[in-house]
Protein backbone atom coordinates (compact mmCIF):
# COMPACT_ATOMS: atom_id res chain seq x y z
CA UNK A 1 0.00 0.00 0.00
CA UNK A 2 1.46 3.36 -1.00
CA UNK A 3 -0.50 5.30 1.62
CA UNK A 4 -0.71 4.54 5.30
CA UNK A 5 -3.46 2.02 6.18
CA UNK A 6 -6.59 3.48 7.73
CA UNK A 7 -7.00 2.98 11.45
CA UNK A 8 -10.19 1.52 12.95
CA UNK A 9 -11.01 4.97 14.31
CA UNK A 10 -10.74 6.51 10.82
CA UNK A 11 -12.91 3.75 9.37
CA UNK A 12 -15.54 4.32 12.06
CA UNK A 13 -15.53 8.04 11.28
CA UNK A 14 -15.86 7.37 7.53
CA UNK A 15 -18.81 5.07 8.18
CA UNK A 16 -20.47 7.62 10.42
CA UNK A 17 -20.12 10.24 7.67
CA UNK A 18 -21.97 7.87 5.36
CA UNK A 19 -24.75 7.28 7.87
CA UNK A 20 -23.58 3.76 8.74
CA UNK A 21 -22.93 2.37 12.17
CA UNK A 22 -20.10 -0.15 12.43
CA UNK A 23 -20.27 -2.14 15.67
CA UNK A 24 -17.16 -2.76 17.74
CA UNK A 25 -17.39 -6.45 16.76
CA UNK A 26 -17.39 -5.60 13.06
CA UNK A 27 -14.87 -2.76 13.09
CA UNK A 28 -11.61 -4.79 13.04
CA UNK A 29 -12.66 -6.86 10.00
CA UNK A 30 -14.26 -3.92 8.18
CA UNK A 31 -10.98 -2.05 8.64
CA UNK A 32 -9.01 -5.01 7.27
CA UNK A 33 -11.38 -5.21 4.31
CA UNK A 34 -11.21 -1.49 3.44
CA UNK A 35 -7.41 -1.49 3.63
CA UNK A 36 -7.14 -4.70 1.60
CA UNK A 37 -9.39 -3.25 -1.11
CA UNK A 38 -7.34 -0.04 -1.25
CA UNK A 39 -4.10 -2.03 -1.33
CA UNK A 40 -5.13 -4.57 -3.99
CA UNK A 41 -6.93 -2.04 -6.18
CA UNK A 42 -3.81 0.15 -6.23
CA UNK A 43 -2.67 -2.27 -8.97
CA UNK A 44 -5.23 -0.61 -11.25
CA UNK A 45 -2.98 2.48 -11.31
CA UNK A 46 -0.56 0.46 -13.44
CA UNK A 47 -3.18 -0.27 -16.11
CA UNK A 48 -3.73 1.85 -19.25
CA UNK A 49 -7.17 3.06 -18.18
CA UNK A 50 -7.07 6.69 -19.32
CA UNK A 51 -9.02 6.12 -22.51
CA UNK A 52 -11.24 3.31 -21.17
CA UNK A 53 -14.88 4.14 -20.58
CA UNK A 54 -16.54 2.81 -17.41
CA UNK A 55 -19.45 1.05 -19.15
CA UNK A 56 -21.09 -1.64 -16.99
CA UNK A 57 -22.78 -3.45 -19.89
CA UNK A 58 -22.43 -3.35 -23.67
CA UNK A 59 -25.41 -3.36 -26.06
CA UNK A 60 -26.36 -6.79 -27.37
CA UNK A 61 -25.85 -7.69 -31.06
CA UNK A 62 -28.35 -6.35 -33.56
CA UNK A 63 -31.88 -7.46 -32.88
CA UNK A 64 -32.92 -10.25 -35.17
CA UNK A 65 -35.75 -11.89 -33.29
Amino acid sequence: MTTKPLTPEQVATLAQAGGLLVSSDDLPEVTVRVNAFLDQLAALDELPLDSVQPIPALPHPEKTG
Partner: protein
Protein backbone atom coordinates in the same frame (compact mmCIF):
# COMPACT_ATOMS: atom_id res chain seq x y z
CA UNK B 1 -34.57 -50.66 -12.26
CA UNK B 2 -32.69 -49.81 -9.05
CA UNK B 3 -34.17 -46.63 -7.60
CA UNK B 4 -30.75 -45.02 -7.17
CA UNK B 5 -30.08 -45.47 -10.89
CA UNK B 6 -33.36 -43.77 -11.68
CA UNK B 7 -32.57 -40.87 -9.32
CA UNK B 8 -29.21 -40.24 -11.01
CA UNK B 9 -30.55 -40.65 -14.53
CA UNK B 10 -30.07 -37.67 -16.86
CA UNK B 11 -33.08 -35.44 -17.51
CA UNK B 12 -32.98 -36.41 -21.19
CA UNK B 13 -33.54 -40.07 -20.20
CA UNK B 14 -36.21 -39.29 -17.60
CA UNK B 15 -38.13 -37.27 -20.20
CA UNK B 16 -38.10 -40.29 -22.50
CA UNK B 17 -39.22 -42.67 -19.75
CA UNK B 18 -42.11 -40.38 -18.78
CA UNK B 19 -43.24 -40.08 -22.40
CA UNK B 20 -43.06 -43.84 -22.89
CA UNK B 21 -45.03 -44.33 -19.64
CA UNK B 22 -42.21 -46.40 -18.19
CA UNK B 23 -42.06 -44.13 -15.18
CA UNK B 24 -44.67 -41.71 -13.87
CA UNK B 25 -44.09 -38.12 -12.67
CA UNK B 26 -45.64 -39.14 -9.32
CA UNK B 27 -43.05 -41.91 -8.92
CA UNK B 28 -40.27 -39.46 -9.74
CA UNK B 29 -41.46 -36.83 -7.26
CA UNK B 30 -41.95 -39.43 -4.50
CA UNK B 31 -38.49 -40.85 -5.16
CA UNK B 32 -36.77 -37.44 -4.89
CA UNK B 33 -38.84 -36.52 -1.81
CA UNK B 34 -37.72 -39.76 -0.15
CA UNK B 35 -34.11 -38.99 -0.99
CA UNK B 36 -34.52 -35.47 0.42
CA UNK B 37 -36.00 -36.97 3.62
CA UNK B 38 -33.09 -39.39 3.83
CA UNK B 39 -30.16 -37.07 3.11
CA UNK B 40 -31.06 -33.44 3.49
CA UNK B 41 -30.95 -33.22 7.28
CA UNK B 42 -27.22 -33.68 6.79
CA UNK B 43 -26.63 -31.89 3.46
CA UNK B 44 -28.94 -28.86 3.83
CA UNK B 45 -29.47 -28.41 0.10
CA UNK B 46 -33.04 -27.22 0.54
CA UNK B 47 -34.53 -24.22 2.34
CA UNK B 48 -38.10 -25.19 1.46
CA UNK B 49 -39.45 -28.45 0.06
CA UNK B 50 -42.79 -27.85 -1.68
CA UNK B 51 -43.94 -31.40 -1.02
CA UNK B 52 -47.71 -31.07 -1.43
CA UNK B 53 -47.60 -28.74 -4.43
CA UNK B 54 -45.02 -30.96 -6.17
CA UNK B 55 -47.14 -34.07 -5.65
CA UNK B 56 -50.21 -32.23 -6.89
CA UNK B 57 -48.35 -31.09 -10.02
CA UNK B 58 -47.04 -34.61 -10.52
CA UNK B 59 -50.58 -36.04 -10.45
CA UNK B 60 -51.66 -33.48 -13.06
CA UNK B 61 -48.60 -34.31 -15.16
CA UNK B 62 -49.41 -38.02 -14.93
CA UNK B 63 -52.99 -37.37 -15.99
CA UNK B 64 -51.75 -35.41 -18.99
CA UNK B 65 -49.59 -38.36 -20.06
CA UNK B 66 -52.54 -40.74 -19.65
CA UNK B 67 -54.79 -38.44 -21.72
CA UNK B 68 -52.19 -38.27 -24.47
CA UNK B 69 -51.85 -34.50 -24.19
CA UNK B 70 -49.09 -32.67 -25.99
CA UNK B 71 -46.17 -32.73 -23.54
CA UNK B 72 -43.53 -30.05 -22.95
CA UNK B 73 -39.80 -30.78 -23.19
CA UNK B 74 -39.50 -31.18 -19.41
CA UNK B 75 -42.84 -32.80 -18.76
CA UNK B 76 -42.98 -34.41 -15.33
CA UNK B 77 -39.35 -33.66 -14.43
CA UNK B 78 -38.76 -32.60 -10.79
CA UNK B 79 -36.54 -29.53 -10.71
CA UNK B 80 -35.36 -27.45 -7.75
CA UNK B 81 -34.71 -23.72 -7.83
CA UNK B 82 -32.26 -21.46 -5.99
CA UNK B 83 -34.04 -19.45 -3.30
CA UNK B 84 -33.07 -16.24 -5.11
CA UNK B 85 -35.84 -16.72 -7.71
CA UNK B 86 -39.36 -15.57 -6.96
CA UNK B 87 -41.78 -18.50 -6.85
CA UNK B 88 -45.50 -17.88 -6.71
CA UNK B 89 -47.00 -19.25 -3.52
CA UNK B 90 -43.68 -20.70 -2.30
CA UNK B 91 -41.58 -18.73 0.15
CA UNK B 92 -38.48 -17.07 -1.22
CA UNK B 93 -35.88 -16.16 1.40
CA UNK B 94 -32.86 -15.16 -0.72
CA UNK B 95 -30.95 -16.93 2.04
CA UNK B 96 -31.78 -14.17 4.52
CA UNK B 97 -33.58 -14.12 7.85
CA UNK B 98 -35.21 -10.85 6.76
CA UNK B 99 -37.28 -12.70 4.12
CA UNK B 100 -38.06 -15.77 6.24
CA UNK B 101 -41.81 -15.31 5.69
CA UNK B 102 -41.84 -13.78 2.20
CA UNK B 103 -44.21 -15.58 -0.16
CA UNK B 104 -44.20 -13.97 -3.64
CA UNK B 105 -47.32 -13.67 -5.76
CA UNK B 106 -45.40 -14.07 -9.02
CA UNK B 107 -42.84 -16.41 -10.58
CA UNK B 108 -39.49 -15.37 -12.00
CA UNK B 109 -39.58 -15.67 -15.80
CA UNK B 110 -37.06 -18.55 -15.78
CA UNK B 111 -39.34 -20.41 -13.34
CA UNK B 112 -42.40 -19.66 -15.49
CA UNK B 113 -40.61 -21.11 -18.52
CA UNK B 114 -39.63 -24.26 -16.63
CA UNK B 115 -43.23 -24.72 -15.49
CA UNK B 116 -44.53 -24.10 -19.02
CA UNK B 117 -42.15 -26.79 -20.27
CA UNK B 118 -43.77 -29.22 -17.83
CA UNK B 119 -41.18 -29.21 -15.04
CA UNK B 120 -42.37 -29.84 -11.48
CA UNK B 121 -41.03 -27.45 -8.84
CA UNK B 122 -39.68 -29.63 -6.05
CA UNK B 123 -38.50 -26.86 -3.75
CA UNK B 124 -36.17 -23.96 -3.07
CA UNK B 125 -32.44 -24.37 -2.65
CA UNK B 126 -30.06 -23.13 0.00
CA UNK B 127 -27.73 -20.22 -0.61
CA UNK B 128 -25.55 -17.86 1.44
CA UNK B 129 -27.20 -14.75 2.74
CA UNK B 130 -28.20 -12.51 -0.18
CA UNK B 131 -25.96 -14.63 -2.42
CA UNK B 132 -22.86 -13.32 -0.67
CA UNK B 133 -20.02 -15.76 -0.12
CA UNK B 134 -18.45 -15.58 3.30
CA UNK B 135 -21.68 -16.31 5.20
CA UNK B 136 -20.63 -17.93 8.49
CA UNK B 137 -23.89 -18.76 10.23
CA UNK B 138 -26.16 -20.05 7.46
CA UNK B 139 -29.75 -19.06 8.30
CA UNK B 140 -31.19 -22.24 6.77
CA UNK B 141 -28.54 -24.76 7.78
CA UNK B 142 -24.87 -25.34 7.00
CA UNK B 143 -24.69 -26.90 3.52
CA UNK B 144 -22.34 -29.86 3.13
CA UNK B 145 -20.59 -31.34 0.14
CA UNK B 146 -22.04 -34.77 -0.75
CA UNK B 147 -18.56 -36.04 -1.75
CA UNK B 148 -17.27 -35.35 1.77
CA UNK B 149 -19.58 -33.72 4.27
CA UNK B 150 -16.69 -32.12 6.14
CA UNK B 151 -16.15 -29.95 3.06
CA UNK B 152 -18.01 -26.93 1.74
CA UNK B 153 -20.16 -27.18 -1.37
CA UNK B 154 -19.29 -23.86 -3.02
CA UNK B 155 -21.50 -20.83 -3.43
CA UNK B 156 -23.79 -19.16 -3.97
CA UNK B 157 -25.99 -21.66 -5.86
CA UNK B 158 -24.91 -23.98 -3.09
CA UNK B 159 -28.06 -26.08 -2.80
CA UNK B 160 -28.11 -26.50 -6.59
CA UNK B 161 -24.67 -28.11 -6.56
CA UNK B 162 -25.53 -30.40 -3.65
CA UNK B 163 -29.03 -31.41 -4.77
CA UNK B 164 -27.89 -32.15 -8.33
CA UNK B 165 -24.80 -34.11 -7.25
CA UNK B 166 -26.67 -36.12 -4.59
CA UNK B 167 -29.70 -36.69 -6.84
CA UNK B 168 -32.10 -34.83 -4.57
CA UNK B 169 -33.65 -33.47 -7.79
CA UNK B 170 -33.38 -34.20 -11.50
CA UNK B 171 -31.74 -30.84 -12.17
CA UNK B 172 -31.57 -27.36 -10.66
CA UNK B 173 -31.91 -23.74 -11.67
CA UNK B 174 -29.06 -21.62 -10.34
CA UNK B 175 -27.96 -18.01 -10.46
CA UNK B 176 -24.45 -16.83 -11.30
CA UNK B 177 -23.13 -13.32 -10.73
CA UNK B 178 -19.38 -13.91 -10.32
CA UNK B 179 -19.25 -17.70 -10.32
CA UNK B 180 -22.24 -18.70 -8.22
CA UNK B 181 -23.28 -21.52 -10.55
CA UNK B 182 -19.80 -22.57 -11.66
CA UNK B 183 -18.16 -22.70 -8.22
CA UNK B 184 -20.65 -25.09 -6.58
CA UNK B 185 -20.83 -27.05 -9.84
CA UNK B 186 -17.07 -27.47 -9.67
CA UNK B 187 -16.97 -28.39 -5.97
CA UNK B 188 -19.90 -30.83 -6.26
CA UNK B 189 -18.89 -32.44 -9.58
CA UNK B 190 -21.82 -31.36 -11.76
CA UNK B 191 -22.33 -29.27 -14.89
CA UNK B 192 -23.21 -25.62 -14.31
CA UNK B 193 -23.66 -23.01 -17.01
CA UNK B 194 -23.57 -19.25 -16.76
CA UNK B 195 -25.19 -17.97 -19.97
CA UNK B 196 -24.27 -14.72 -21.66
CA UNK B 197 -25.70 -11.82 -19.67
CA UNK B 198 -28.89 -10.96 -21.56
CA UNK B 199 -29.57 -14.50 -22.81
CA UNK B 200 -31.91 -15.44 -19.93
CA UNK B 201 -34.37 -13.10 -18.24
CA UNK B 202 -33.49 -11.71 -14.82
CA UNK B 203 -37.13 -10.88 -14.07
CA UNK B 204 -38.02 -12.18 -10.63
CA UNK B 205 -34.41 -12.76 -9.68
CA UNK B 206 -33.55 -10.98 -6.43
CA UNK B 207 -30.63 -8.86 -7.60
CA UNK B 208 -26.97 -8.83 -6.61
CA UNK B 209 -25.35 -6.92 -9.52
CA UNK B 210 -27.76 -5.87 -12.25
CA UNK B 211 -25.08 -5.99 -14.97
CA UNK B 212 -23.81 -9.49 -14.13
CA UNK B 213 -26.69 -11.54 -12.65
CA UNK B 214 -27.62 -14.53 -14.80
CA UNK B 215 -29.86 -17.58 -14.45
CA UNK B 216 -28.60 -20.96 -15.65
CA UNK B 217 -28.82 -24.74 -15.36
CA UNK B 218 -27.08 -27.10 -12.92
CA UNK B 219 -27.25 -30.66 -14.20
CA UNK B 220 -25.55 -34.04 -14.20
CA UNK B 221 -24.87 -34.00 -17.96
CA UNK B 222 -24.13 -31.42 -20.63
CA UNK B 223 -27.13 -32.55 -22.69
CA UNK B 224 -29.36 -31.79 -19.69
CA UNK B 225 -27.87 -28.30 -19.47
CA UNK B 226 -28.66 -27.82 -23.17
CA UNK B 227 -32.30 -28.84 -22.65
CA UNK B 228 -32.74 -26.40 -19.78
CA UNK B 229 -30.95 -23.61 -21.64
CA UNK B 230 -33.32 -24.09 -24.58
CA UNK B 231 -36.23 -23.80 -22.17
CA UNK B 232 -35.25 -20.71 -20.20
CA UNK B 233 -33.38 -18.61 -22.82
CA UNK B 234 -34.87 -15.87 -24.95
CA UNK B 235 -36.21 -12.35 -24.92
CA UNK B 236 -38.54 -11.34 -22.10
CA UNK B 237 -40.46 -8.06 -22.20
CA UNK B 238 -40.18 -7.98 -18.40
CA UNK B 239 -36.37 -7.69 -18.63
CA UNK B 240 -35.37 -4.93 -21.05
CA UNK B 241 -31.81 -6.22 -21.09
CA UNK B 242 -32.65 -9.61 -22.61
CA UNK B 243 -31.44 -9.89 -26.18
CA UNK B 244 -33.87 -10.25 -29.06
CA UNK B 245 -31.81 -13.03 -30.57
CA UNK B 246 -33.24 -16.37 -31.66
CA UNK B 247 -32.53 -19.25 -29.26
CA UNK B 248 -30.69 -22.13 -30.95
CA UNK B 249 -31.78 -25.69 -30.24
CA UNK B 250 -28.31 -26.46 -28.82
CA UNK B 251 -28.14 -29.77 -30.68
CA UNK B 252 -25.03 -31.70 -29.64
CA UNK B 253 -23.07 -33.96 -31.97
CA UNK B 254 -19.72 -33.97 -30.18
CA UNK B 255 -17.79 -32.68 -33.20
CA UNK B 256 -14.99 -30.33 -32.17
CA UNK B 257 -12.75 -30.78 -35.20
CA UNK B 258 -12.92 -27.13 -36.23
CA UNK B 259 -12.89 -25.73 -32.71
CA UNK B 260 -9.92 -23.61 -31.61
CA UNK B 261 -9.30 -24.03 -27.88
CA UNK B 262 -7.21 -21.54 -25.87
CA UNK B 263 -5.83 -22.71 -22.53
CA UNK B 264 -5.41 -19.66 -20.28
CA UNK B 265 -1.76 -19.65 -19.27
CA UNK B 266 -1.80 -17.36 -16.23
CA UNK B 267 -3.71 -19.78 -14.03
CA UNK B 268 -1.05 -22.45 -14.49
CA UNK B 269 1.80 -20.01 -13.77
CA UNK B 270 0.20 -18.25 -10.80
CA UNK B 271 1.38 -20.61 -8.08
CA UNK B 272 -2.25 -20.66 -6.84
CA UNK B 273 -3.37 -23.80 -8.63
CA UNK B 274 -2.95 -27.16 -6.90
CA UNK B 275 -1.18 -29.86 -8.85
CA UNK B 276 -4.12 -32.23 -9.17
CA UNK B 277 -6.37 -29.51 -10.61
CA UNK B 278 -3.68 -28.35 -13.03
CA UNK B 279 -3.06 -31.91 -14.22
CA UNK B 280 -6.77 -32.66 -14.63
CA UNK B 281 -7.48 -29.54 -16.71
CA UNK B 282 -4.40 -30.07 -18.89
CA UNK B 283 -5.46 -33.69 -19.43
CA UNK B 284 -8.92 -32.50 -20.47
CA UNK B 285 -7.33 -30.13 -23.00
CA UNK B 286 -5.39 -33.10 -24.36
CA UNK B 287 -8.64 -35.04 -24.79
CA UNK B 288 -10.13 -32.17 -26.82
CA UNK B 289 -6.94 -32.08 -28.89
CA UNK B 290 -7.20 -35.80 -29.54
CA UNK B 291 -10.76 -35.25 -30.77
CA UNK B 292 -9.48 -32.84 -33.41
CA UNK B 293 -9.70 -29.45 -31.68
CA UNK B 294 -6.75 -27.12 -32.20
CA UNK B 295 -5.42 -26.48 -28.70
CA UNK B 296 -2.97 -23.71 -27.86
CA UNK B 297 -2.08 -21.48 -24.95
CA UNK B 298 -3.41 -17.95 -24.59
CA UNK B 299 -2.36 -15.15 -22.27
CA UNK B 300 -4.79 -12.89 -20.42
CA UNK B 301 -2.49 -10.66 -18.37
CA UNK B 302 -5.16 -9.06 -16.17
CA UNK B 303 -6.98 -12.23 -15.28
CA UNK B 304 -5.76 -12.62 -11.70
CA UNK B 305 -7.00 -9.12 -10.84
CA UNK B 306 -10.57 -10.13 -11.67
CA UNK B 307 -11.52 -11.27 -8.17
CA UNK B 308 -10.89 -7.98 -6.43
CA UNK B 309 -12.38 -5.97 -9.31
CA UNK B 310 -15.49 -8.14 -9.21
CA UNK B 311 -15.85 -7.93 -5.43
CA UNK B 312 -15.51 -4.14 -5.43
CA UNK B 313 -18.50 -4.05 -7.81
CA UNK B 314 -20.50 -6.90 -6.26
CA UNK B 315 -20.04 -5.89 -2.63
CA UNK B 316 -21.03 -2.32 -3.50
CA UNK B 317 -24.07 -3.59 -5.41
CA UNK B 318 -25.14 -5.77 -2.49
CA UNK B 319 -24.64 -2.90 -0.07
CA UNK B 320 -27.13 -0.88 -2.11
CA UNK B 321 -29.60 -3.80 -2.28
CA UNK B 322 -29.42 -4.34 1.48
CA UNK B 323 -28.94 -0.74 2.60
CA UNK B 324 -32.19 -0.70 4.57
CA UNK B 325 -31.09 -3.70 6.66
CA UNK B 326 -27.58 -2.29 7.03
CA UNK B 327 -29.04 0.96 8.41
CA UNK B 328 -31.98 -0.35 10.41
CA UNK B 329 -31.42 -3.98 11.35
CA UNK B 330 -27.76 -4.88 10.75
CA UNK B 331 -27.96 -7.80 13.19
CA UNK B 332 -30.45 -9.52 10.87
CA UNK B 333 -27.52 -10.00 8.48
CA UNK B 334 -24.80 -12.58 9.05
CA UNK B 335 -21.45 -11.03 10.02
CA UNK B 336 -19.71 -12.10 6.78
CA UNK B 337 -21.99 -10.40 4.25
CA UNK B 338 -22.57 -7.46 6.61
CA UNK B 339 -18.85 -6.73 6.88
CA UNK B 340 -18.38 -7.15 3.11
CA UNK B 341 -21.14 -4.62 2.45
CA UNK B 342 -19.99 -2.17 5.10
CA UNK B 343 -16.42 -2.15 3.73
CA UNK B 344 -17.59 -1.68 0.13
CA UNK B 345 -19.80 1.21 1.25
CA UNK B 346 -16.68 3.08 2.36
CA UNK B 347 -14.70 2.87 -0.90
CA UNK B 348 -14.09 6.20 -2.66
CA UNK B 349 -16.42 6.87 -5.60
CA UNK B 350 -13.43 7.75 -7.79
CA UNK B 351 -11.99 4.31 -7.09
CA UNK B 352 -15.29 2.66 -8.08
CA UNK B 353 -15.10 4.61 -11.38
CA UNK B 354 -11.63 3.19 -11.97
CA UNK B 355 -12.87 -0.31 -11.12
CA UNK B 356 -15.53 0.04 -13.82
CA UNK B 357 -12.84 1.12 -16.29
CA UNK B 358 -10.82 -1.97 -15.30
CA UNK B 359 -13.90 -4.12 -15.90
CA UNK B 360 -14.00 -2.81 -19.48
CA UNK B 361 -10.32 -3.49 -20.02
CA UNK B 362 -10.85 -7.04 -18.71
CA UNK B 363 -13.81 -7.45 -21.07
CA UNK B 364 -11.68 -6.25 -24.00
CA UNK B 365 -8.91 -8.74 -23.16
CA UNK B 366 -11.25 -11.71 -22.77
CA UNK B 367 -13.18 -10.88 -25.93
CA UNK B 368 -9.95 -10.30 -27.91
CA UNK B 369 -8.80 -13.77 -26.89
CA UNK B 370 -12.16 -15.12 -28.04
CA UNK B 371 -11.58 -13.63 -31.48
CA UNK B 372 -8.56 -15.92 -31.83
CA UNK B 373 -10.17 -18.93 -30.16
CA UNK B 374 -13.68 -20.38 -30.24
CA UNK B 375 -13.49 -21.36 -26.58
CA UNK B 376 -11.12 -20.80 -23.68
CA UNK B 377 -10.53 -23.39 -21.01
CA UNK B 378 -9.21 -23.05 -17.48
CA UNK B 379 -9.73 -24.46 -13.99
CA UNK B 380 -13.00 -23.50 -12.28
CA UNK B 381 -11.18 -23.00 -8.98
CA UNK B 382 -7.59 -23.14 -7.71
CA UNK B 383 -8.37 -26.44 -5.98
CA UNK B 384 -11.18 -28.64 -4.70
CA UNK B 385 -13.67 -27.66 -1.99
CA UNK B 386 -12.08 -26.62 1.28
CA UNK B 387 -13.02 -27.83 4.73
CA UNK B 388 -16.01 -26.16 6.35
CA UNK B 389 -14.16 -25.50 9.61
CA UNK B 390 -11.52 -23.52 7.72
CA UNK B 391 -14.18 -21.32 6.12
CA UNK B 392 -15.72 -20.48 9.49
CA UNK B 393 -13.08 -18.13 10.90
CA UNK B 394 -14.57 -15.45 13.15
CA UNK B 395 -12.65 -12.51 11.72
CA UNK B 396 -11.10 -12.51 8.28
CA UNK B 397 -7.50 -11.41 7.88
CA UNK B 398 -5.89 -9.73 4.88
CA UNK B 399 -4.52 -13.15 3.84
CA UNK B 400 -8.03 -14.68 3.96
CA UNK B 401 -9.34 -11.89 1.75
CA UNK B 402 -6.57 -12.15 -0.80
CA UNK B 403 -7.12 -15.91 -1.05
CA UNK B 404 -10.85 -15.31 -1.45
CA UNK B 405 -10.27 -12.80 -4.25
CA UNK B 406 -7.75 -15.08 -5.93
CA UNK B 407 -10.30 -17.90 -5.92
CA UNK B 408 -12.83 -15.50 -7.44
CA UNK B 409 -10.35 -14.67 -10.20
CA UNK B 410 -11.04 -18.11 -11.68
CA UNK B 411 -14.72 -17.46 -12.45
CA UNK B 412 -15.35 -13.70 -12.28
CA UNK B 413 -13.34 -12.64 -15.39
CA UNK B 414 -16.06 -14.15 -17.54
CA UNK B 415 -18.80 -12.43 -15.54
CA UNK B 416 -17.01 -9.12 -15.98
CA UNK B 417 -16.66 -9.86 -19.70
CA UNK B 418 -20.35 -10.86 -19.99
CA UNK B 419 -19.57 -14.09 -21.86
CA UNK B 420 -20.96 -17.61 -21.34
CA UNK B 421 -18.97 -20.06 -19.20
CA UNK B 422 -19.63 -23.63 -18.12
CA UNK B 423 -18.05 -25.68 -15.37
CA UNK B 424 -17.94 -29.44 -15.62
CA UNK B 425 -16.18 -32.24 -13.76
CA UNK B 426 -12.83 -33.25 -15.28
CA UNK B 427 -11.40 -35.43 -12.52
CA UNK B 428 -11.11 -36.13 -8.80
CA UNK B 429 -8.43 -35.57 -6.22
CA UNK B 430 -6.77 -38.50 -4.50
CA UNK B 431 -9.07 -37.77 -1.56
CA UNK B 432 -12.12 -38.11 -3.82
CA UNK B 433 -13.20 -34.50 -4.27
CA UNK B 434 -14.32 -33.29 -7.71
CA UNK B 435 -12.17 -31.02 -9.89
CA UNK B 436 -13.91 -28.61 -12.25
CA UNK B 437 -12.91 -27.27 -15.65
CA UNK B 438 -14.39 -24.16 -17.24
CA UNK B 439 -15.20 -23.75 -20.90
CA UNK B 440 -15.76 -20.13 -21.94
CA UNK B 441 -17.31 -18.89 -25.17
CA UNK B 442 -18.07 -15.80 -27.20
CA UNK B 443 -21.11 -13.70 -26.34
CA UNK B 444 -24.29 -15.66 -27.14
CA UNK B 445 -22.25 -18.67 -28.33
CA UNK B 446 -23.57 -20.99 -25.62
CA UNK B 447 -23.98 -23.62 -28.33
CA UNK B 448 -20.24 -23.77 -28.99
CA UNK B 449 -19.51 -24.05 -25.26
CA UNK B 450 -22.03 -26.86 -24.86
CA UNK B 451 -20.65 -28.62 -27.95
CA UNK B 452 -17.08 -28.61 -26.61
CA UNK B 453 -18.29 -29.70 -23.17
CA UNK B 454 -20.36 -32.52 -24.66
CA UNK B 455 -17.41 -33.71 -26.75
CA UNK B 456 -15.23 -33.88 -23.65
CA UNK B 457 -17.94 -35.50 -21.55
CA UNK B 458 -18.60 -38.28 -24.03
CA UNK B 459 -14.89 -39.09 -24.10
CA UNK B 460 -14.27 -39.07 -20.35
CA UNK B 461 -15.82 -40.62 -17.26
CA UNK B 462 -15.73 -37.93 -14.57
CA UNK B 463 -19.48 -37.34 -14.89
CA UNK B 464 -20.29 -41.00 -14.27
CA UNK B 465 -19.08 -41.09 -10.66
CA UNK B 466 -21.53 -40.68 -7.80
CA UNK B 467 -20.98 -39.23 -4.36
CA UNK B 468 -20.40 -41.88 -1.66
CA UNK B 469 -23.78 -41.04 -0.06
CA UNK B 470 -25.70 -43.15 -2.53
Amino acid sequence: MIETDLAFMPVTELVRLVRERKVSPVELVRMYLERIDRWDDRLHAYVTVSRDAALEQAKEAEAAVTRGDRLGPLHGIPIAVKDQFLTKGIRTTNGTRALADFVPDDDATAVTRLREAGAILLGKLNMPEGGMLGTRDWPYGQPRNPWNTEHEAGASSTGGGIATAAALCAAALGEDTGGSIRNPASYCGVVGMRPTWGRVSRYGLLPIVWSMDTAGPMTRTVADAAVIMRTIAGHDPKDVFTARLPVPDYALDGDVRKVRVGVIREYFESGLLDRESADAVRAAATVLGRLGARVDEVSLPMILLAGVIFCAIADSGSAVQHRKELLQEPDLLDAGPRRRMLAASLLPVALYYKVEQARNLMRDQVRAALERFDVLICPSAPGPAGRIDRAQVATWTTEDLIKFWQRGSHTSPFSLAAVPALSMPCGYTASGLPIGMQIVGRPFAEGTVLQAAHAYETNSDAHTKRPPLS
